[in-house]
């Protein structure tokens, strides 16, 4: 599979097919037994600081404030950056996700959705080329999840990054993706690629159009095939 620079790829597939493994391969946390991963014309051989990661669990550090949590990657990637600049960069992102006023709170004082917003800010604070997300909205309730989709859309408009999103939610993949990649069951292969032909500034309403319904239908059938089931129409 190929993800063109600056685009958003949503990866769906039956559970246990290796989607999380895929994120770890792209991040350089694992090396492939076979095959190769390339980023920007360079083969991935190990972790690189031009990658941002977000997980289903926000993994915020309880002993740090929200602001200091967001700053964390800068401490690694840009150790000489002045504290003031780090804070300014973090605040810029916190403002985009609507967390201004919460920067001095601890993670335990925030709701699940807010924590996940902070986690997204942390994965973007060092301006990564690639953002890898492993079901970041999976543990949220349906309405919070839709809010986060819109936040994600706005972040994308403001920050230039290539995104790979692992998800179980077909509506999510259509709403956020420029392309949706369906993986087959074990051993996972690229089974189907759909180009999402919807406007970049899409709203949630787009999910209720016949065009989106058709796309979701096709994807649903592809998942059934990936699960090894009959498509019954």
């Amino acid at each position: 599979m190929t993800v063109p620079e600056g685009t958003f790829a949503a990866v769906v597939g039956p559970s246990g097919c290796g989607k999380s493994t895929l994120t770890r391969l792209v991040a350089g946390l694992m090396t492939p037994d076979e095959g190769e991963v390339w980023l920007h014309g360079e083969r991935v051989k190990g972790p690189r600081n031009t990658v941002g990661m977000a997980f289903q669990n926000p993994v915020l550090l309880e002993w740090r404030t929200i602001l200091d949590n967001v700053i964390l990657p800068l401490e690694i990637v840009a150790p000489r950056m002045p504290r003031k600049d780090r804070e300014a960069r973090a605040m810029e992102l916190l403002e985009m996700v609507g967390l201004v006023g919460f920067e001095n709170k601890r993670p335990s004082e925030l709701s699940g959705g807010m924590r996940q917003r902070a986690s997204l800010c942390r994965s973007l604070v060092h301006k990564p080329d690639v953002l890898i997300m492993d079901e970041p909205f999976g543990a949220l309730d349906a309405f919070t999840r839709e809010d986060l989709w819109q936040t994600m859309r706005d972040l994308r408009a403001a920050e230039p990054f290539t995104a790979v999103l692992i998800t179980h939610d077909l509506r999510e993949s259509v709403f956020l993706g420029d392309q949706v990649i369906v993986l087959s069951g074990r051993p996972a292969r690229t089974q189907y690629v759909m180009d999402v032909d919807l406007p970049a500034d899409r709203t949630l309403d787009v999910l209720f159009t016949p065009k989106a319904a058709d796309m979701l239908h096709v994807l649903r059938d592809q998942i059934k095939i990936a699960q090894g089931r009959e498509v019954d129409h």
Binding site: L29, V51, F55, V59, L61, W63, V77
Partner: protein, 252 residues
């Protein structure tokens, strides 16, 4: 705030009252069971000895505990980070911890003959490092991989991951163990002071009370030990507030 201080004080007064009542109701003489009212005279009579011996017990306990923190943390790091070390060391550690430490007193007093301060510190250390080693080890080995990955994905070194994530994340467990170890260390110190008397520490004072049949003195020593234990415990709580206060969630 008021109730935070008043509640334990009232509880202590009630406890002393019940104790006094128990001794009075049974008509026990002093040589069977001292009552709280016998204690102030005992403390006053031996006030200089209490200060001197109490200080000896306290500093040797604190030094032993300090060693336990260092060695326990190092062992915890070894078993927390290396599977092989964990498999190899756990049976040894548990076996060592299972040995009643009283049986080791003659061994170490023979090994380091006459080194009373050293022996006492050593025993306080030996009895108290285990909880620290185990809790640090568990804290490190159960660190969720995602916590490591958020820094590892950026190419951070193992040392950076340890300082920024693993160590602070283990602190609440560490302090939990330190509270247990602080009281255990007193047991270690007194074990040596009582079993291998050398005229130092509250344990020796206890022993002399026993020899002279001075029961109020013996009970006074026990109370003094309890007092020192409480002081050290709250010192640990104080440190915990500073270094791991974030783990304390407000009651909802």
């Amino acid at each position: 705030m008021f109730s935070k201080i008043a509640t334990p004080i009232i509880a202590i007064i009630v406890f002393l009252g019940l104790w006094e009542l128990l001794v009075w109701a049974n008509g026990w003489p002093n040589f069977k069971m001292a009552s709280p009212s016998d204690l102030p005279p005992a403390f006053w009579k031996y006030r200089e000895l209490f200060l001197e011996m109490g200080w000896q017990t306290l500093w040797r306990t604190v030094v032993g505990l300090f060693l336990a923190v260092i060695v326990g943390t190092v062992i915890g790091m070894i078993i927390g980070f290396s599977r092989i070390a964990r498999d190899a060391l756990y049976p040894l550690l548990i076996g060592f911890n299972a040995i009643p430490k009283a049986t080791l007193v003659p061994v170490i007093s023979l090994l380091f003959i006459g080194q009373h301060d050293f022996n006492t510190v050593l025993m306080a250390f030996m009895i108290s490092f285990f909880p620290i080693a185990v809790s640090v080890g568990i804290g490190l080995s159960t660190l969720e991989p995602e916590y490591r990955d958020i820094l590892r994905a950026l190419g951070a070194s193992k040392a950076t991951i340890f300082w920024k994530i693993a160590l602070p994340k283990t602190l609440p467990e560490f302090f939990g163990a330190l509270k247990v170890s602080a009281t255990l260390a007193f047991i270690g110190t007194n074990l040596v002071e009582i079993v291998s008397p050398h005229g130092r520490g509250l344990g020796a004072l206890f022993k002399s009370g026993e020899t002279n049949g001075d029961y109020p003195l013996m009970f006074a020593v026990l109370i003094a030990l309890a007092f020192l234990g409480i002081v050290l415990y709250y010192a640990v709580i104080f440190l915990e507030r500073i270094f791991a206060g974030w783990a304390d969630r407000e009651a909802t």
